[in-house]
Amino acid sequence: MNEHQLKAEAADMSRYEKHKFLIMVALTIVISLVMVGFALHIYATSGAEQLDLSRPGYQSVRQQVSKKDQFDRYPSAGPIDSESLNLFRNLYNEQAKRAMVDSFGGDVLSDAALGLEAPVAQP
């Protein structure tokens, strides 16, 4: 195939065929953007965002994530006798004791705590 034939073939190509590569690149970018958008939407709506301590502003607390919760799973198969009951009792009581700590209590968001009480009207 000589140069003349190549030029003739190029002239015969449709607009789509001429820009096929560019269209592929553009489509790839669009699909990636759609997928990233969808992933971010799931991240924001599923509650995962609230558990993500790698976000900026959480450096101070990141190291304090408890590792103690990684206790062994109680075996779901086997007989129920004094031994298995005692094993469950010990495991359960230990975790139950830890769960009994008061959380999200207190009045830290009250007007008084934040210094936002309504000023007393002057007579």
Binding site: R73, Y74, S76, I80, L85, V108
Partner: protein, 173 residues
Amino acid sequence: MRKFLLASVLTALLVLPSASAAAEPPLSDAHLNKIRLNCVEVQSSLTQLHASDALLRVNRGQLFESISTKLMAPFNSRVALNKLDGSGLLGTTVEYERALSSFRNDYKSYEEDLAAALAIDCQAKPAEFYHLINSARRGRELVHGDVLALQKYIKQYSAQFEELAATVEEVDR
């Protein structure tokens, strides 16, 4: 009649969104000024609370989750496999799961309100800032209620377990 119905629906649609805003009394100028003056300092305290609550959510959530998946569910299976009556335990587990789900959802709403209160330009919009704090306060109370409910079910499950254990140990003797 059709016109009347249409008018009623339109009125309801217009009135309902403002109903929640109207539930909170308007703030006086003095109060708004006080909010404007203190709000930057308040936002700084809220930033710390936001971070410490996120840590609490992760740690507590992990523990509550583990109690359900690593203890309650396997024990219920074991009880069922041994053909014992575990209906009480099962019922409590279902209630516990429901409370855990509320805990997740309520925390999410609370965190969103708190994050909005942190993001807002409180000196330009003191009333909105104050309403967001009120909303976050109510959200935090709900989360606290969920924690109390979870603790109640943990105790209830323990009591039901002890009843079952007593029955099994009596039969063994």
